[in-house]
């Protein structure tokens, strides 16, 4: 049963990165779009993400619930030592969620929009940045349970070049996902070309910030290269991701939005796989080397079992409904558009 739970945990994280990430990316892209194109970007994005907006962010909650029910020790250790970046991320989530709704549902569209829009754009950037920091800090081995003073217990646990570079990398991934996604949502050839150009740029940014991660890992003496290239499955995943990136570059100009999305999804899946495979079943690496593992720090058998059943039963309800929702609003619309 524990493996059912682990698969759900991993899948929720992946889906949160993919769907939530594309969603954050929408705000990030808007931030980096020239004023002239901003309104257009916003409209296209909103039509695309509006109906599934709520559902995208549920994956984070599912992951958190799985953690505190199934792996309480892991949840609490992270909560204690990464308190500060977690709070920053939460502030980002609050600001973004509310600003999104305010700007789309305010009865009057007036100067207030000038308040909502920047809040929305900047919080779209900040939230994944801290998410990246949190993810990186949990594997960077900087969490020190023996720390005596405030700074080394609660600040240096996350404030280092490696975590920051992963934060930047996460932000660029979000932007990348959003541009790839939006290519299929455009209604004119001109804006399609515009977003293709943009997608190409975000790919460069992703590659550049990815390189930064390796550099930062080197500076912080984190054996990232060993982790990723050290074992065969991780290596295969990275090679597969690179190949698909090449295919993506070729496919960018062809009118194949679904293929592009699949490729982008594939690449992120492979990156997450490579990043988590080497440590499995460890998920939080501590300074003293006594890592927190999904297997040895799982909750009692009955708790895991009922969690697994709750998740299985839940997915029987959720998946068909979600697929139907996406079908109705995405596929049908696409067809209607092409006629």
């Amino acid at each position: 049963m524990i493996y059912v739970v682990i698969v759900f945990l991993w899948t929720s994280i992946l889906l949160y990165i993919l769907l939530g990430g594309a969603d954050f990316g929408a705000g990030i892209i808007e931030l980096f779009t020239s004023k002239a194109n901003q309104a257009k970007t916003r409209k296209t994005m909103y039509n695309a993400i509006g109906p599934i907006w709520e559902a995208n962010h549920m994956w984070l909650i599912i992951a958190i619930v799985i953690l505190f029910v199934g792996f309480p020790k892991i949840y609490t250790t992270v909560s204690i030592y990464l308190h500060i970046p977690l709070v920053c991320m939460l502030l980002g989530i609050i600001a973004r969620g509310t600003a999104f709704v305010f700007r789309n549902y305010d009865a009057v569209k007036d100067d207030m929009q000038r308040l909502y829009t920047p809040i929305f754009m900047y919080s779209s950037l900040i939230t994944p940045f801290f998410l990246g920091i949190i993810a990186a800090s949990s594997v960077s081995g900087k969490i020190d349970l023996q720390a005596k003073d405030f700074l080394s217990a609660y600040v240096y646990s996350w404030l280092n070049w490696f975590s920051i570079s992963v934060g930047v990398f996460t932000v660029s991934i979000c932007g990348f996902l959003a541009t790839i996604f939006i290519i299929g949502q455009t209604d004119t050839e001109q804006s399609r070309l515009h977003f293709i150009k943009m997608a190409r740029r975000t790919i460069y940014v992703v590659m550049f910030s990815g390189a930064l991660v390796f550099l930062a890992a080197y500076l912080e003496r984190i054996p990232l290269t060993d982790w990723i290239f050290g074992d065969i499955p991780g290596l295969i995943a990275i090679v597969a991701a690179s190949i698909s990136l090449v295919i993506m570059f070729i496919a960018l100009n062809r009118d194949k939005p679904i293929l592009l999305r699949l490729l982008a999804g594939f690449q992120i899946t492979m990156i997450l796989f490579a990043a988590t495979y080497t440590h499995f079943p460890d998920i939080v690496l501590l300074k003293n080397g006594q890592n927190l593992s999904l297997l040895s720090h799982q909750g009692q058998a009955r708790a895991i079992e009922s969690l697994a059943y709750a998740l299985l039963i839940g997915s029987v309800f959720i998946l068909p409904a979600l697929v139907y929702l996406i079908y109705i609003f995405q596929v049908r619309k696409d067809n209607a558009g092409s006629h």
């Binding site: 559902a55 029910v69 308190h83 989530i93 009057v108 609660y154 969690l307 979600l322």
Partner: protein
């Protein structure tokens, strides 16, 4: 302020904030569905207008409820890690099921909000009802988790270890039913009165009267019926508390001495040091009757409970008085409204009845917050009743005071913006939603 107090207050504010949005998010979809049903049946556009206006409101509240809820699920660990480390696996069942309920709610809301003119009309209507049902279900599930903190079960506690966990038994603890029932009704009462009050104000001002009258009727119907049921369910809760948490009952009633034929106190200022209540009206025997169903039975007082396990008496007592007082007031308003509907139709068009509802706009929510204060403060000093103390559950990280200030500032500004937004929704009804007006204008 010390960190411990700050942490408790931060938790209380976050929950107090979330609960308002959660209640509206779980009750408004029902109002909406009723209006929507009338539209489908009667084809009177005013009902469609009401439905659409309300669904905008629901979307605003849903998102605010969702983000504040997301914050809560992290806050439990950020503030109370020791609690979560032990409680997580035990009371996690409702939370894992809740995930499903939320998901269904979010998906159904997606269908509903974007499905006008796209879906089969009845399928579209059903998705609205599903939003309501799954919202209510998630409310019931979280309350079951909270009830477990009041009435821990589903595990054996031996030498500081939590053994033989049974998450299902933990979910169906002794308190879940009475709390879930009382809470669900409270959600209808508070939302019903708040929505009715707002529309009553608009009728009184003579704005879009047909629109607001229809909306008022639907909200008032839900609010008043639930208000009349609330004392019955409150009585069930009180009997329940008397059994499982005598210390809480004693604090609610500022009942210092164990006695038979115990009197119910109305008002009064508890004097904890002197162990007495000043200036209260006493109704002999009624407390015994409320707690046990018998005027002569004994009711445990605070003197039967070790001193270091006493909850704060004054806060609990005042909160309880506020809840019951406002509850009774709403029953009264409900009765007047029923008389108006069934006997004195002329009252319905009179100003005083509208004014009464306008004055009652916030009181449901005040009663709701007061009720939660009773439940949560009355459980102190325990976070898991009789098992773990709140003080032992706290995070070791210093400086929670600053996080408290930060979150308070955020919540206050959010509350202001949401109020502003709703105000604009309501004043713009004429332009945006009232199609009878639109036609005459164009």
């Amino acid at each position: 302020m010390d960190d411990f107090l700050a942490a408790r207050l931060q938790m209380a504010f976050s929950l107090g904030f979330h609960i308002v949005f959660a209640c509206i998010g779980m009750v408004m979809p029902f109002f909406m569905s009723v209006a929507h049903f009338y539209w489908l049946k009667t084809k009177k556009t005013v009902y469609k207008d009401v439905t659409k206006a309300w669904s905008k409101g629901v979307a605003i509240f849903f998102a605010t409820g969702a983000v504040s809820g997301t914050v809560l699920s992290f806050e439990l660990g950020l503030l109370w890690p020791t609690f979560m480390e032990h409680a997580g696996p035990i009371f996690g069942m409702p939370f894992s099921l809740e995930g499903t309920a939320f998901f269904i709610e979010a998906i159904a809301l997606g269908f509903y909000m974007y499905g006008w003119d796209k879906l089969n009309v009845w399928f579209h209507w059903v998705t609205g009802v599903i939003v309501g049902i799954s919202g209510l279900l998630s409310g019931i599930l979280v309350v079951a988790a909270n009830a477990w903190m009041n009435s821990p079960s589903g595990f054996d506690y031996l030498d500081g270890k939590y053994l033989n966990i049974d998450p299902i038994a933990a979910m169906f603890n002794d308190a879940w039913f009475s709390q879930a029932l009382h809470m669900s009704l409270a959600a209808f009462v508070s939302t019903g009165f708040a929505v009715a009050g707002v529309h009553a104000l608009m009728i009184l001002r003579g704005r879009n009267v047909t629109f607001h009258s229809k909306a008022f009727k639907i909200a008032a119907a839900f609010g008043t019926v639930a208000a009349c049921l609330q004392p019955i369910s409150g009585d069930i809760s009180a009997k329940d508390v008397a059994q499982r948490q005598p210390a809480k009952l004693a604090a609610m009633e500022a009942h210092f001495h164990t006695e038979r034929n115990a009197a119910l106190l109305l008002g009064g200022i508890p004097d904890t040091a002197g162990k007495k209540v000043n200036y209260a009206i006493k109704i002999p025997g009624l407390l015994s009757f409320m707690a046990t169903g018998d005027f002569n039975k004994e009711v445990k007082g605070l003197d039967s409970i070790p001193k270091d396990e006493h909850p704060p008496v004054a806060v609990t007592h005042y909160a309880f008085q506020i809840m019951v007082g406002l509850g009774m007031l709403m029953v009264l308003i409900a009765i007047l409204y029923f008389i108006a509907i069934f006997k004195k139709r002329q009252w319905l068009s009179s100003k005083w009845l509208l004014r009464l509802f306008i004055a009652a706009t916030p009181i449901g929510f005040i009663a709701l917050e007061a009720g939660w204060t009773v439940t949560e403060v009355g459980r102190q000093p325990w976070i898991i009743y009789g098992v773990m103390r709140t003080a032992d559950a706290m995070t070791p990280m210093p400086g929670i005071v600053y996080s408290f200030y930060l979150f308070t500032a955020v919540y206050v500004s959010l509350a202001i913006i949401v109020t502003f937004l709703l105000y604009r929704q309501i004043t713009m009804v004429g332009k945006l939603y009232d199609s009878s007006l639109k036609q005459t204008n164009s």
